[in-house]
């Protein structure tokens, strides 16, 4: 990636590589001071400090809660419809809607739906599976899953300009800075 890149139309952004988490967080803080808002960090391990520094918020647990609720309702509805409406079996005059006997399956359906919504919801909201993403165009990025920490300022950021953004990222002393081709 050369710095004299003429055309910034095809850019995903500019990427800085850091050796550890503290350096990455310093880089994020510096970029925030420089007025960048549209950024993403890439780390080999989940880090609460990075999540906090980037101000990432998520209310993902609501998805799972709703999934569990849907599971509980459909579990009970299934048993009610079958045992009361569609296929009532009279066993010694016991009530058709014998809800205590339905608890186990309601519980299992709650867990099943909640777990499925946790996994499918996480993948869906993260946009996975995703066969192609521009960050993989940078050769150094191979180490993002091992021991390097990356910060990308997206080209969609209002203050983005390939050359000046690279210079600004250089200020926080990263191991390397590169343009990310789209």
């Amino acid at each position: 990636m050369s710095a004299d890149h003429k055309n910034d139309e095809g850019l995903h952004g500019v990427m800085a590589e850091f050796g550890d988490e503290a350096a990455l967080i310093a880089g994020i803080e510096q970029a925030k001071r420089d007025g960048f808002t549209d950024m993403e960090a890439y780390t080999p391990v989940p880090s609460h400090d990075v999540i906090h520094a980037l101000g990432v918020k998520n209310r993902f647990s609501m998805v799972v809660f709703c999934g569990g609720l849907a599971g509980a309702c459909s579990g009970f509805l299934l048993q009610y419809v079958v045992s009361v409406l569609v296929y009532p079996v009279n066993i010694g005059g016991r009530p058709y809607n014998s809800w205590p006997a339905f608890i186990v399956i309601v519980f299992e359906c709650t867990i099943l739906f909640a777990a499925l919504s946790a996994v499918i919801g996480m993948l869906f909201l993260n946009g996975l599976p995703q066969p192609y993403h521009p960050v993989f165009n940078v050769p150094q990025f191979l180490r993002a899953s091992q021991d390097r920490f990356f910060l990308v300022v997206h080209a969609t950021d209002p203050k983005f300009d390939p050359r000046s953004t690279m210079e600004r990222l250089q200020a926080s002393a990263p191991l390397s800075v590169a343009e990310v081709a789209n």
């Binding site: 080999p44 048993q79 399956i105 993002a144 899953s145 091992q146």
Partner: protein, 470 residues
């Protein structure tokens, strides 16, 4: 016990051996998967267990051709090896979920290096467990009748039956275990994709990683999802074995109809599961030189958990005998007498030896730290837990209320061949797993490093002072 003592006072082995860095942990774990050469011992074991898988195929084939009559089951023992092995296998699976979910929620960091391995064990054990009720149906191709699907007969399942609860519990358990395992693997597949030297590895691991790139936004959702999955799996694992015990406890058979069944079954499941983890992990640890990642701390802790759950199981045995007397029913009293002195008395004594006496050795730290002894104990416990299910199923069914309906159970060679077949299938899958999937979670081990390096230094200092004393 240790709640009031600051952690630094308790001398412990480190979770990761001294001198490890992020790079060395990744290299150590991924090199097993990415290496091109095939170890001779691994291949030999794979071939051996592959032969066992063929035995499984033959046993299933013969069963499907001739019907369940090839087994030793008949009235009154209509549930024989199939239910014994089902409960045995599903119990073994439970340790995996306990390690990965409950210990995660309890912030037991030492679980990290053994959780992937034991989750894999769960998955394969549930597969083995699931085969038995399916094959016991006699016509397994009609297994979908178990599920509430609209059909031309206009018939629906009976949702008030514990057997139906079992269908839901076990299928949910299998699904959630697989999801939990896979979600934990995604970042590791990404690491392997980026480390793979050849194209095949990059493509296969790349597909498995689904384009994971470690974006912070993704990690935030990932962590919530993983934690919630753990939170969901925890009550699930308790419910699964509770429901399995309902298969017995909700019936009226003397010896089955007791309230002690659910806790006793759950503890027994964890107990046998930890035994199986040790049985498998001790040889793997030695063969792949993982002593730094699976330390004496893990092994010691697993021994302790086996001791605790073993004692709960023994409490269950005591309660069974107590209820036989306290129920004040002739049939219940006779059940206890029959268990102690009847046809399966040998199995009952064996069970007491395996599950009551043997685990008492685990009180001693020396025993918990002797790999060979622990390996032998873990195998004895596995046998003991199998005998426990044998005693519960067979003695109770052989002699119920009416002497006119009494009968004896004799397993046939096909009972044994199917059982051995599933054990081989289990080992076969485990062997494939340790070779092709990172058996220790890479990214979770990495997150442990900063904390454990200080711990490792302290432990190393402890050991050196220890050595100077001797």
């Amino acid at each position: 016990m240790s709640a009031n003592i600051p952690p630094s006072v308790i001398r412990r082995d480190p979770v990761i051996g001294p001198g490890h860095t992020a790079g060395s942990v990744i290299d150590k774990i991924s090199s097993i998967v990415l290496s091109r050469d095939i170890q001779r011992g691994w291949f030999l074991l794979l071939a051996l267990s592959g032969m066992g898988v063929m035995l499984l195929g033959v046993s299933v084939g013969w069963l499907l051709t001739r019907g369940v009559g090839v087994w030793g089951i008949n009235e009154p023992v209509a549930w024989g090896f199939d239910i014994i092995n089902f409960v045995w296998w599903i119990g073994i699976g439970h340790a995996g979920t306990l390690i990965s979910a409950i210990l995660l929620l309890l912030h037991q960091e030492w679980r990290t290096s053994i959780n992937r391995f034991s989750e894999a064990m769960t998955l394969f054990a549930v597969m083995c467990a699931g085969m038995f009720p399916l094959l016991h149906l006699g016509r397994p191709w009609l297994a979908f009748w178990l599920f509430p699907l609209p059909n031309t007969m206009s018939m629906w399942p009976q949702f008030r039956s514990p057997l139906m609860w079992d269908v839901f519990a076990v299928s949910t358990y299998g699904t959630v275990s697989a999801l939990f395992w896979y979600v934990g693997l995604i970042p590791d597949f990404a690491t392997l994709r980026d480390k793979a030297q050849n194209k095949i590895g990059r493509v296969i691991f790349g597909m498995a990683a689904m384009g994971w790139r470690g974006a912070t936004q993704h990690w935030a959702r990932y962590e919530v999802a993983y934690l919630l999955l753990a939170g969901l799996a925890t009550p699930l694992v308790v419910s699964v074995h509770t429901v399995v015990s309902f298969d017995f406890a909700v019936s009226v058979i003397p010896g089955w109809h007791t309230t002690v069944m659910p806790p006793y079954f759950v503890a027994g499941a964890v107990y046998s599961g930890f035994a199986m983890v040790l049985t498998l992990m001790l040889p793997v640890r030695a063969a792949y030189r993982l002593q730094d990642l699976i330390t004496m701390r893990h092994i010691d802790n697993m021994g302790k958990i086996m001791l605790v759950t073993g004692m709960i199981v023994v409490y269950g045995y005591a309660m069974e005998l107590f209820f036989g007397w306290y129920a004040g029913s002739t049939a219940e009293g006779f059940m206890v007498h029959n268990r102690l002195f009847g046809s399966a008395a040998g199995a009952y004594k064996g069970l007491l030896f395996c599950n009551l006496l043997t685990p008492q050795l685990l009180w001693f730290k020396k025993v918990r730290r002797s790999l060979w002894l622990l390996f032998v104990i873990s195998i004895i416990v596995n046998i003991g837990m199998w005998l426990e299910r044998y005693v519960i199923v067979v003695t109770c069914l052989e002699r119920d209320y009416l002497p006119s309906s009494w009968g004896d159970f004799h397993p046939t060679i096909w009972d044994w061949s199917l059982f051995i077949g599933t054990i081989s299938f289990f080992l076969f899958m485990m062997l494939l797993f340790i070779r092709f999937i990172p058996m220790i979670p890479i990214f979770e081990m990495r997150s442990l490093l900063p904390k454990s390096q200080a711990g490792a230094k302290a432990a190393a200092a402890d050991q050196s002072t220890d050595a100077s004393k001797h």
